[in-house]
């Protein structure tokens, strides 16, 4: 029974829109996180002295600052995803399901 509804959902253009938008966002964010994270680890492995530079008169090194920035940024990206998914994508899903399930009746 549900297979029929699944087929109908899949035919709905809103489904394509939902999937395309969400996949694009998810993979873009994943890409950013992976590039930054492995970038840091590559720097540690191949050119660690870059991370030992002190910023001005302070004792804060570039390494510390980048580390902290990664914590903050990764969390913010998480927040970006949750925000868009919980509003835009969920609303779209709601409409999509409403149309597809109602069409059956």
């Amino acid at each position: 029974m549900s297979s029929e509804i699944y087929a109908r959902i899949q035919k709905n253009p809103k489904f394509k829109e939902l999937v395309a938008k969400r996949e694009r966002l998810a993979w873009t964010l994943t890409g950013i996180v992976l590039v930054l994270f492995f970038g840091l680890f590559m720097t540690v492995a191949f050119n660690p002295s870059v991370l030992a530079i002190r910023l001005g008169d302070s004792y804060v090194t570039t390494g510390l600052l980048i580390g902290l920035a990664q914590f903050v940024l990764f969390w913010l990206l998480t927040a970006v995803y949750v925000r868009r998914a919980n509003s835009e994508f969920d609303a779209l899903t709601e409409q999509l399901l409403h149309e597809s399930v109602k069409a059956k009746k």
């Binding site: 939902l18 840091l40 030992a52 004792y59 969390w75 998480t78 995803y81 998914a85």
Partner: protein
């Protein structure tokens, strides 16, 4: 280099964390300390409170869904705390603080690697897990593939991870309790095992979740209080603190720069991959996606969990740095009063000594109780994940092929929890004097190479077939085990050979791609009729993964 590693790993091993992926020479056998009364009182309060919750939860645990997922009635915020709790073991608090104390910035890198799994698990997996699964992550892999075979494999993967992780935690608990509470090792292991069985069998997921939530709050609160008190001694100025630490620490300027720990690029990347993708394959974390009502709450859970974990890691950084100055200059904390000598109770006690230095015996007692509570909460989460794999996947779906009542399934879960508790206690005692570092490496390695690839392929790749899934799952698991056996922590430390055959600490970099490759090759070469049906069934699965239509409790139309 060797010395640092040795010091570090002994520290981490006795606590049992993933960082113990570092090869270790031998477990430091802790000395029994005098009875710590405030700690025992505070621990008793915690246990009393959690038992009361278990009693309450028991009356509400009627269906299988209550037992495995707390009926899906946990909010995103609560679940986020519980997830963070499941992820932060006692080793996070004690081991990582010790690591900062000894290695400075290198420890921060470790923490980033621990952290980065959270955004990834959210972007790629969280809502699909929620939409496709019911109780365990095996639900997802077996969605369109052969139930019996794939579930058996997923259950074996889960149980292996749970088992190794449990042993590490039990051994850590015993050592820690001997040191903090002045109790015997055996007593500690039995107390942990018994309480874990009580929480899981009587209260199921409801009790386990609340134990986890309380513990996470205590951990966050305790860590923050100590750090604020310690940091106030430096006028809350990072520069003042940093100047002092550089002056005192033997690493001098290099304290705030990458050091020796991750010098070998391949080792660094393998470790980073193991920690990152290991998170996405840990059964007790994945199970938490089913305790919430819908995908919306599942996403929020990750946001909260990541927030708590990220915050806490930065607190730990400050804690470790403050300890360099406060603990590192106080003869009271060194054996024989020699500053710079051996720290009383070993490196792991740095956080404890700091608590005592800034807050006296009461704060020390509080932190000790938190550490014990933490172990208890983590083993309960693990035991429940293991019991679910046995009852929901193996018993109900594979052995009984779905012809089983909920009551029977719950009964089997409870028996399984009891069995797991018993095994954990026996193995905890058996491994008392063993080096268990490789078990932590194995747990994360198997999670990253055995569980994650299968889960990922079954969610994203339509051509995955049962044959491919089995090849990826078993292949990843075996590869992870073989590589760990050939690595320093088993080959050299346990077997006593001079040089390891596999030179790295974490198998993930090699075992994970192998698992993906096996999954790919064995799927595309599978021309059977069943494989065709499995591919065709992907369309429906994809719709459900994306929309949640048909998912348990996710649709209210």
């Amino acid at each position: 280099m060797k010395k640092i590693l040795a010091k570090l790993s002994t520290g981490l091993v006795s606590l049992g964390m993933a960082g113990a992926a570092l090869a270790a020479p031998a477990v430091e056998i802790t000395q029994k300390q005098p009875l710590n009364v405030p700690a025992i009182i505070m621990f008793a309060i915690f246990v009393g409170m959690t038992l009361a919750i278990t009693y309450w939860a028991a009356s509400r645990t009627k269906t299988a869904s209550d037992f495995y997922t707390a009926g899906g009635g946990i909010t995103g915020f609560q679940n986020g705390l519980a997830m963070a709790g499941d992820y932060m073991s006692a080793a996070t608090l004690l081991g990582l603080t010790a690591m900062v104390y000894t290695n400075g910035y290198d420890a921060y890198l470790f923490m980033i690697a621990f952290f980065v799994g959270w955004p990834i698990i959210l972007f790629l997996m969280a809502e699909r897990l929620r939409n496709l699964g019911k109780f365990t992550f095996a639900d997802i892999t077996s969605y369109r593939l052969d139930q019996g075979k794939v579930r058996t494999m997923a259950a074996i993967g889960s149980l292996t991870v749970v088992c190794f992780y449990l042993i590490v935690q039990m051994v850590g608990a015993g050592q820690l309790i001997k040191l903090l509470f002045g109790l015997d090792y055996h007593v500690a292991v039995i107390v942990v095992g018994a309480l874990m069985v009580v929480y899981v069998t009587f209260g199921g997921m409801v009790a386990t979740t609340w134990v986890q939530i309380i513990k996470a709050c205590l951990l966050l609160f305790g860590g923050t209080v100590i750090t604020v008190l310690a940091f106030s001694q430096f006028g809350f100025s990072f520069n003042t603190l940093a100047a002092k630490t550089i002056e005192l620490h033997k690493l001098k300027d290099m304290l705030f720069a990458p050091g020796k720990l991750l010098q070998d690029p391949i080792n660094a990347i393998s470790l980073a991959m193991g920690l990152m993708f290991g998170l996405a394959g840990l059964p007790h974390i994945l199970m938490r996606f089913f305790t919430v009502n819908n995908a919306k709450e599942a996403r929020k859970s990750v946001l909260y969990a990541a927030g708590f974990v990220g915050f806490f890691f930065n607190v730990i950084l400050l804690m470790g740095l403050c300890a360099i100055v406060i603990v590192g200059t106080n003869p009271e904390f060194f054996e024989g009063g020699t500053i710079g000598g051996k720290i009383i109770g070993g490196g792991n006690m740095v956080a404890m000594h700091l608590a005592k230095a800034v807050g006296g015996n009461l704060l020390l007692g509080f932190l000790a109780a938190v550490a014990f509570a933490t172990i208890l909460a983590v083993v309960s989460g693990l035991a429940l994940a293991g019991a679910s794999a046995i009852s929901h996947d193996l018993y109900a779906r594979v052995i009984k092929k779905g012809n089983v009542s909920e009551a029977q399934e719950i009964k089997v879960s409870k028996m399984a929890s009891f069995g797991i508790g018993l095994i954990a206690v026996v193995l905890g005692i058996a491994f008392e004097k063993q080096n268990v570092a490789f078990m932590a490496a194995l747990a994360f390695g198997i999670a990253a190479a055995g569980n994650f690839p299968v889960l990922f392929l079954s969610m994203y790749w339509k051509d995955l077939t049962t044959r491919g899934a089995l090849a990826a799952g078993y292949g990843g698991l075996i590869a992870a085990v073989v590589l760990v056996v050939l690595s320093k922590s088993v080959w050299v430390t346990v077997f006593g050979y001079a040089t390891p055959i596999f030179p790295y600490d974490q198998p993930a970099l090699f075992a994970m791609p192998l698992a993906f490759l096996l999954g790919y090759v064995f799927s595309i070469t599978d021309k059977s009729e069943r494989a065709g049906k499995e591919r065709a069934a992907f369309a429906d699965q994809w719709v459900r993964a994306q929309t949640g239509f048909g998912a348990d409790g996710a649709v209210s139309h």
